[in-house]
Symmetry: C2
Subunit: 333 residues, 2 copies
DNA sequence: CTGTCGCAAGAAACCGATTTCTCGTAAGGT
DNA sequence: ACCTTACGAGAAATCGGTTTCTTGCGACAG
């Protein structure tokens, strides 16, 4: 019932607890005979070290916290999976927290976790940088993911948002679309503004002046995408294509187009950012800019480990690349 | 830089650490003047108790572990969110583990977590019950979710799988479909077998003898659903409808039908188990049996708390209800 | 033969809280 | 006025490990 302690093992092997600790951690040379006796005793009793006690003494833990902004978004869950797989391999467990894009909730979580001796943080930061800055100043290992925190030099993992957006928009232009709209996220998030910038720069490169009447900021969720699309449909002259900068908003936009019996791509061409599992089998198949989500998580975890091992290394930004999958939703007949 | 300890607060307030502890936990009566001084000192120093030390002394933690079998499945992530929201309200953090439907990986996780003084476990068990049984025998609070563990009396949260499946199948029959196929999950999982049983019982109730040639066991993933569907299409006479018992396999089945240019519901009617965000806007809209996923998580968390507070209460099984959303994919023209 | 050095292993301190034990003071009863 | 009782608050033990300090033994050099 009660777990055996290191004292039980010591007594059982006829040595001191210090020696047991030394054997189990392999830090110091111990007589081979004693070592075997300790190992045998530990095995026999089914001893497992109490990590609370160990971590209290070492003042660290084997926990990582991942704070994401929307647990309902498959983008973030795939990312968590990447983090988890790497962490697991290195002996860390992952605590998952969902900030819901709410800076106060994020602050609550981080404040609580700060007291928990968590050894590393991977955060998709909300707009308010102070939360992350506080962690960083407290000397904790921090990696920002998906979004670039303003005015804060921490390790960061991003995708090349501007390039991805430019590629998507250029593709629409090449297909002959001219009045191309863009539904992007909250202006305060770098992800949203970079993608918007890429969209605009593609238009300009093709000699089309970006029209503010065709740009919408929504909330990166399904509902917001629906509303923004409905809103765009009322614009005159109406857009003939739309570039939607995340997966959930793309779902909303498609739902809106379906509700209004608008044919894709004849009446409106569509390209979405982020992959979705059903992109290929809906009719028409959906064109997407896919991100290496799982790899983003793995990269963040790797950077976090490097930061923990060497807190003084200069901060690094890893930028991964997106891939355009052009399918029928953006193809001019 | 270094976090202040209870000794710092005590010194600052001119009292003993014991008194600080008493004030902060509100367990005992303390002179109002001292109380205010302690609170002021704690606030001024920004004191947060070190949870490692607290938990070591109390020999418990404020951590819950949720072990799910597929983090890529939105069903499980919605569920985790329900757990997390309740846990957060009660002061628990949630550690997320992904067993990937692999009993060995599950065993590794649970063994590691057992040493971590985790105070509660919510697990969607793989087929091997021993892992869960070990936890239970070690006296830990455990709640099984989504699947009923064989031969193990622990708190369990389920949906009424048999009823949901019967309702879906009956609906297909009422719409005039006759050769109704079923793609279900691994036979060893109660979820899969119960849904299959509900399907069969609906057929029998309508005077149709279940045909083994129309039943397929796959792996609850997209790929498996695709293969099973392809396989079913080769059956002679071919099925005129299919009931798919989870969301990811439904995606695979739909993909397969699309690849083979099979019209839904004219050639094959479709009903899926589990909701998906895009059910309403694909053409035709997808009929689904939805589960109250978020509520499942909340219920599991509530049961877990009750179990932690009273380890001796008799095990309880909560069964939540599914809802059939009949849409165009299952409607005979 | 003796003094020094190295090293293995036990003893004890420590991490930072909570909780039990102890003591002193004030209140209340006779 | 004195003795008992209650209670508030400090001292010290405790949780279970790790790490530093100390000790004792054997080896080796002078």
């Amino acid at each position: 019932m009660a777990m055996p302690t290191i004292y039980d093992v010591a007594r059982h092997a006829g040595v001191s607890p210090a020696t047991v600790s030394r054997v189990l951690n392999g830090r110091s040379t111990v007589d081979a005979g004693l070592r075997d006796r300790v190992n045998a005793a530990a095995a026999q009793l089914g001893y497992r070290p109490n990590s609370l006690a160990r971590n209290l003494r070492r003042s660290t833990t084997n926990l990582w916290a991942v704070v994401i902004s929307d647990i309902n978004n498959p983008f973030f869950t795939a990312l968590v999976r990447g983090v988890e797989d790497v962490g697991q391999g290195l002996g860390y467990s992952v605590v998952l927290c969902n900030s819901d894009e709410n800076p106060d909730k994020e602050a609550d979580y981080l404040r609580a976790l700060l007291a928990d001796q968590i050894s590393g943080f991977i955060v998709s930061p909300t707009s308010r940088t102070e939360n992350l800055a506080a962690l960083h100043e407290a000397g904790r290992a921090v990696v920002a993911i998906d979004r670039r925190p303003r005015n804060l030099a921490v390790d960061t993992v991003l995708v090349d948002n501007e390039h991805g957006a430019r590629e998507a928009t250029t593709h629409l232009i090449e297909q002959g679309f001219r009045r191309i709209a863009c539904i992007t996220g909250p202006a305060r998030l770098s992800t949203a503004s970079r993608r918007l910038r890429g969209y605009r720069s593609a238009l300009r490169a093709a000699g089309i002046e970006p029209d503010p009447a065709l740009e919408r900021h929504a909330d990166f969720r399904q509902r917001g995408g629906y509303t923004a699309m409905a809103n765009l449909l009322a614009a005159r002259p109406a857009p003939d294509a739309v570039f939607v900068t995340n997966n959930l908003m793309t779902v909303g936009a498609l739902e809106c187009l379906a509700d209004n019996d608008i044919r894709i791509p004849d009446q409106v061409g569509v390209v979405g950012f982020d992959d979705v599992p059903w992109a290929t089998f809906i009719r028409p198949p959906l064109s997407t800019v896919t991100q290496p989500t799982y790899e983003l998580g793995r990269t963040a975890a790797t950077l976090l480990k490097a930061r923990i091992d060497d807190p003084d290394r200069p901060p690094e930004t890893a930028t991964l690349h997106t891939t355009l999958h052009a399918r029928a939703s953006s193809r001019r007949p």
